[in-house]
């Protein structure tokens, strides 16, 4: 049997049910891996050693009494540092919340705990989820497990590394413009952003409320389905959530040759013919798409207009919402306070002292795009182009069942490489942002054929059709060399 921390959730559940392992053993294996690797990798900001072991023991006890709460009972998971867990520190990777203690549970973490999952700790992230490399964390960067000089991606870099380096069996991330999918792609794991409205954002420290979604980061597609089923659902505390009754059982479920027969996969020419794609990315994603074809899927070249403008739309809409959402960090009720008179100075100095440069840059951009004189040309215009982008996806999905693109234009880049040029960093998300703008679900699946730097293939689904993209992801896993 392989080391317990290297198991998938699916494998661990089977072993737990057969009493071949205990939750305590799984948890200890993960904690040991964290102890050995995390000083170097810095994926975790805090590890809940005692709480995790206590939760594992309670899970084992329940199992002996035949009172297992669900599939995740006893499974050790990590959560990103922007999801509240009552009584625990939560900082969103920022100094402005250093020492802040969460006052209530986020819905997603409450659900995981109610189902018996073991929460190992909180993972590192770009400050307030703003970044694509985890270099913007106020607590230091996370390193790529395959190459310590490279970034793991972001903003859910800590969660991605925790999963890839087998420090947990699965993790939660959040995705506003690619923050689950891009680090999943760079690290070589599976990362799903659900349809907007499937998962509650209550207790998620908000970045852009109309774009944010929480989702699973896992070692395989089946594990992603398990976590998604556990955290999804309508929540009266988040009125953007939807009554989700559609099944999440991945389909097609067949892993045999010809198993994808009947599936139409759209390949947008705007993505595949884009210049500037790293050769390694293009080769591996094209080969992966070829494998899906060999499995029976039909490939259709499609036109996805406004794909070029999606990044620009995102970098207007998102900062606008950011400027509003981050105004609560004013040093008054919680967080860092630099007290000065008059009151204005308390606000201005607390925020300048506690917020990093990237965060300030985006707040200023949003303030600009919402200011009178500019709001029509920027915010309102971007909202109109958003309508066009959504319509483009609707049109595309009339011809095809899912859409495939590379997840990112590059593999993991070097620490420091993109820090001086904000636009170069933003371009990392060129394939991921339109998905958030449209509100559709998308999953990144690892597809590189050799042992080298990971490459991700992104599968985009119709609204609420996570089942088809997860099913296709499973087929790809079966066919991956």
């Amino acid at each position: 049997m392989k080391p317990l921390n290297e198991l998938t959730i699916t494998e661990a559940r089977k072993l737990l049910d057969k009493d071949k392992v205990t939750s305590r053993q799984l948890t200890e294996a993960c904690l040991e891996q964290i102890r050995s690797l995390d000083v170097t990798l810095h994926a975790f900001l805090e590890v809940y050693v005692d709480d995790a072991l206590a939760a594992a023991d309670r899970s084992d006890e329940r199992r002996t009494r035949d009172e297992v709460l669900g599939t995740l009972d006893g499974i050790p998971l990590a959560i990103k540092d922007n999801m509240l867990l009552q009584g625990k520190s939560c900082t969103a990777g920022s100094k402005i919340l250093q020492g802040y203690t969460a006052v209530y549970d986020s819905t997603v973490v409450r659900k995981l705990v109610e189902q018996g999952a073991v929460i190992l700790g909180r993972t590192n992230m770009d400050e307030f989820a703003m970044g694509s490399s985890t270099e913007h964390s106020a607590y230091g960067p996370t390193k790529h497990p395959a190459d310590l000089e490279r970034v793991p991606g972001g903003s859910s870099g800590g969660s991605a590394v925790a999963v890839k380096a087998n420090m947990c069996l699965g993790a939660l991330g959040s995705d506003t413009g690619g923050s689950i999918r891009q680090p999943a792609s760079l690290c070589g794991i599976t990362g799903l952003k659900p349809t907007y409205g499937r998962v509650s954002r209550y207790g998620l420290i908000a970045m852009a409320s109309s774009l944010d979604q929480i989702g699973p980061m896992t070692k395989c597609a089946e594990d992603a389905s398990i976590i998604l089923e556990a955290i999804q659902g309508q929540d009266p505390n988040d009125q953007t959530t939807v009554d989700v009754t559609s099944s999440l059982v991945p389909r097609p479920s067949s892993k045999t040759k010809g198993g994808l027969k009947g599936l139409k996969i759209g390949l947008p020419k705007q993505a595949w013919k884009m210049g500037g794609l790293e050769d390694r990315v293009l080769e591996n994603t094209q080969a992966a798409v070829g494998r899906l074809q060999a499995a029976g899927a039909e490939l259709v070249e499609i036109d996805l207009p406004y794909a070029d403008e999606a990044l620009a739309v995102y970098y207007i809409l998102m900062p606008c919402e950011v400027s509003a959402n981050l105004s609560r960090f004013d040093g008054i009720r919680y967080g860092l306070r630099k007290q000065e008179l008059p009151l204005f100075e308390t606000y201005a100095q607390s925020r300048a002292a506690g917020l990093g440069d990237e965060v300030m840059r985006r707040i200023l951009l949003g303030t600009f795009a919402l200011s009178s004189g500019y709001i029509d040309a920027y915010y309102v215009r971007a909202k109109k182009v958003q309508t066009l982008i959504r319509n483009a996806y609707e049109q595309a999905f009339k011809q095809v069942d899912i859409i495939a693109t590379p997840t990112t234009p590059t593999t993991a880049f070097r620490l420091g490489e993109k820090l001086d040029d904000p636009v170069a960093m933003y371009l990392e998300d060129v394939f991921t942002v339109s998905i958030n703008v449209a509100g559709v679900p998308a999953v990144s699946v690892p597809c590189q054929a050799d042992g080298g730097m990971p490459v991700g293939l992104q599968l985009i689904g119709k609204w609420f059709d996570e089942a088809t993209i997860l099913g296709t992801a499973r087929a790809l896993e079966a066919y991956n060399v």
Partner: protein
């Protein structure tokens, strides 16, 4: 389009961000680069297109009644106060005009 340092300084004031001179200069440069990129939306034909709005789907309103929070939550809220006076949040006075 490009913004001047003064204009970015004004935005900083609106956003309650105290930016020292060197940060203001870098921010102005970065701003220029980002605006140059996002300005491509000006070329899109949006004639007759409505701005996207999410369909309003309120699930009903909760009762407008105050309720006491539990002791644990209350203690956590107060423990987060940067400056506490007993069970009250201590805050700077609001009646003085800004220096700048």
């Amino acid at each position: 389009m490009k913004l001047s340092k003064d204009e970015v300084g004004h935005l900083a004031k609106l956003a309650r961000l105290d930016l020292p001179e060197d940060k203001l200069e870098k921010m102005t440069r970065d701003f220029g680069a980002v605006l140059e990129y996002v300005d491509r939306i000006q070329k899109v034909d949006v004639q007759g297109v409505e701005p996207f709005t999410m369909p309003a789907k309120s699930q009903g309103w909760r009762e407008d009644k105050p309720f006491a929070t539990d002791a644990v939550t209350r203690e956590l809220i107060m423990a987060n106060f940067p400056d506490r006076a007993g069970d009250l949040l201590a805050a700077p006075g609001v009646f003085e005009m800004p220096k700048r």
